[in-house]
Amino acid sequence: MKHLFKEEKKLPLTFKYIEHFRTKTNNKTNNAKGSYVPCKRYHTDYLLRENPTKPLTRLL
């Protein structure tokens, strides 16, 4: 594993099974940043813009 990551010291065996994701090409199409807005009421700079979830009971 250490050769895979060009490390001199030993790494745990978990590194053999590591999975890579979120490549640069993916980032180009990732528009997640546009989904957040600052919100004073809830004290956050990252309020997620989303459709409200509808509890099942409301659909009955």
């Binding site: 030993k10 745990p12 978990t14 890579h20 640069k24 809830y42 990252y46 979830t53 509890p55």
Partner: protein
């Protein structure tokens, strides 16, 4: 006044705050990027940052979600004075944290990061079934295809591992022996599961969800390898009373009032896997209509 310690971008915190607003409960939300000064005013202690200011005696309950309260520390030129003042400031900060944690709390900053190995031992002592586990630097004791490995860390995502990507360490089955030694690794007996169970625990009460992940090659070893095209079926589930009671004992022994707990069911057995005090629960809450964010808001 409710104090919420969280991260700026943590969406579940916002869901709880929406419920607090609806209930007319006042709150202060503090973030990972805030640094507080400890000040006094007429024998009362207050904390002040660029965004927030509050007296300790105003706070009635505390929800430690993520992040933590950070303090500004003064540095002194004289090394001896600096060491003394460092300790002085440490004890002041310690007093503030202890005072806040002595109030009604959902988890605590001081013990919200748990050691997976320690938790497994505690779970065994509480009477829960735990798949056999061990640490090793080679695969001599590993039974191929019947042993899994996973990270000892709380966070399994490694950001920017290379120039172009992040990485994630899922639970994986060991498929072959290794010739060379490696850094100490966690191994655990692989259990053939009927399904996985994710439970949310709050102050002795549990809400559980069965995750039917075993029929999908992608999710059968780790359901977090989400299949977005065909998501796992998730349904409400009631754990047996004795499992809930033992889990309650475990959480008490860890001094945790809240957390997400993973089990797997195999035949008549329920195997405890791990507890995550700061785990994400909103997805399962919405899926099973548990309204856990409302439960938290009511508790605070």
């Amino acid at each position: 006044m409710i104090l919420i310690i969280s991260n700026n971008g943590e969406t579940t915190t916002t869901k709880v705050i929406k419920n607090l607003s609806k209930m007319g409960k006042s709150f202060i939300r503090i973030h990972e990027d805030e640094f507080f000064d400890i000040k006094t005013d007429r024998k009362r202690i207050y904390l002040v940052s660029e965004k927030n200011k509050f007296f300790l005696d105003e706070i009635t309950s505390v929800w430690y979600r993520r992040g933590g309260i950070k303090f500004k520390r003064l540095r002194y030129n004289n090394n001896a004075i600096n060491t003394h003042m460092d300790e002085t400031q440490h004890w002041l900060e310690d007093y503030v944290i202890k005072t806040l944690e002595s109030k009604k709390t959902i988890n605590k900053q001081s013990n919200s990061h748990v050691n997976k190995l320690w938790v497994l031992e505690k779970a065994q002592k509480a009477g829960l079934s735990v798949p056999d586990f061990f640490l090793a630097e080679n695969t001599d004791e590993v039974i191929v295809n019947k042993t899994i490995t996973k990270a000892l860390t709380e966070n399994v995502i490694i950001d920017s591992i290379s120039e172009h990507s992040d990485a994630i360490i899922y639970t994986s089955i060991i498929e072959q022996k290794e010739k060379k030694e490696f850094f100490i690794t966690f191994f655990q007996e692989k259990i053939e599961k009927d399904f996985e169970i994710r439970s949310f625990y709050l102050d002795g009460k549990m809400w559980s969800t069965a995750i039917i992940s075993q029929n999908d090659e992608q999710t059968k070893t780790d359901f977090r390898k989400y299949n977005d095209k065909k998501p796992n079926r998730k349904i409400r589930y009631q754990l047996p009373k004795d499992i809930e009671e033992k889990t309650h004992q475990l959480m008490q022994s860890l001094d945790l009032s809240c957390g997400s707990i993973d089990f797997i069911k195999s035949g008549d057995h329920f195997f405890f896997l791990e507890v995550n005090p700061v785990g994400q629960f909103f997805g399962l809450s919405a899926m099973c209509n548990y309204s856990l964010e409302k439960e938290i808001a009511e508790y605070l």
